[in-house]
Assembly symmetry: C2
Homo-oligomer: 219 residues x 2
DNA sequence: ATAATAAATTTGGTATGCCAAACTTTTTTT
DNA sequence: AAAAAAAGTTTGGCATACCAAATTTATTAT
């Protein structure tokens, strides 16, 4: 054995996808290295290999972009990740904020049809436990038309769809407030000086920072 | 990342366990290398590392034995392997002879409690789809008092419990004969000159070689 | 006992994926 | 435009886990 090249490769591609879909800033070596928590030298080396394999494209302005081929691998990896998360939460009773690290491992399991069998077993879920959409077997992602809660309309009722920040700290914070995908939420008041707001959740008014509201996706 | 040491390590320990429980011959470097399909130089190097970690004991006669610590890791790995096999067969509808390679990957997933949750989800099965007993969370294996079909009594009815040879070739061969754990089998006749036999399976008489009968465990 | 064979070991080498430190280029600030 | 900061790049290095080939040590057969 000892050839888990796909393992590392999939992580680079997945992270590239995440970075380029989040901000629409160009992804460079440094930002990718930061996201992967790796040394820029390491990342540069790997990105060159990915470029040789035509999985990423390196432009003259040093930006790193996924090719169609790379994008597809990224999306298939994300599909596997999210399906495993559904499995862990629905079948093994994990909390939705505990499954990320495990899914990071499971997503790299190699098999022609495991993912599709898992998909069927889970009744072809459309969203993972964080509310993120699960790409189909071709890597196509359904359009979600969700908006950031930070741009919500006052006094209109919304449902939390997913969270744009999946850091443990954020998930734990929301856990304490009992906010998760499916939670009903209403914007009551917006404080201009720091863009924080008062929201109604579970019949209670709570205060949310701008950082929090811009990472809570609702519809 | 890129430290999947446990991955490789677990494979060595698992294989050592298998070899020393099968034959009671001493396991040496060559036999281990053959079983792992690796170069003897590689195996020697790794075995020395395992020895430093007190997972195996190297005696003066060059035999390689698991320590209690190594044995425990081997059994926990086997537990994970077999539980995943049950999952793949029972939940994802794989055939029992298709799951080995996938379980080889899944068994190395690292987590405190994943295995126990999986165990509960599957209703704490005692045997895997090949009929092999699943060690408990402490690595203890239930006593199975099964015998090789090659030492069965003529005209007595037995049930196939598990298969001592899990090679793809053997599993495929048995698949064609419709023999699997749970199958009823009766020894009709034993041919002295090559130790092959006639057995009744599913109301039909079939011929089985000595090699086959000694790998079919019944009770 | 000696020759042949098998096992054990040493040596030098490979690929992957990572790092720190030094250095160069580009961008930003002043 | 010069200085400072940030980004990009090169270099040399590390650990893991593998290999082939040569060599040494045991074992087995004659």
């Amino acid at each position: 054995m000892a050839h888990f090249s796909h393992h590392s490769e999939e992580n680079y591609l997945k992270t590239l996808h995440k970075l380029s879909s989040r901000h629409d800033k160009k992804v460079n070596n440094i930002s990718l290295a930061r996201a992967l928590k790796l040394n820029p030298a390491t990342v540069l080396e790997m990105v060159r290999k990915l470029s040789e394999k035509k999985l990423v494209q390196l432009s003259g302005d040093k930006s790193i972009k996924l090719t169609a081929k790379g994008e597809k691998i990224a999306l298939i990896t994300i599909r596997r990740h999210r399906l495993w998360e559904v499995f862990l939460v629905e079948k093994l009773n994990y909390n939705w904020d505990e499954v990320h690290a495990l899914a990071e491992q499971l997503e790299h399991i190699e098999s022609k049809d495991l993912t599709d069998r898992l998909d069927s077993f889970l009744n072809k879920p459309a969203y993972d436990p964080h509310g993120d959409p699960i790409p189909d077997k071709n890597g196509k992602i359904r359009n979600t038309n969700s908006i950031r809660f930070s741009s919500a309309v006052i006094d209109k009722s919304y449902t939390v769809l997913h969270l744009a920040d999946t850091s443990d700290a954020f998930l734990e914070y929301l856990g304490k407030l009992n906010i998760k995908p499916g939670t009903k939420i209403k914007l009551k008041e917006k404080l201009e000086y720091d863009q924080s707001c008062i929201a109604e959740v579970n019949k209670r008014n709570i205060q949310l920072s701008e950082k929090a509201t811009s990472n809570i996706m609702v519809h």
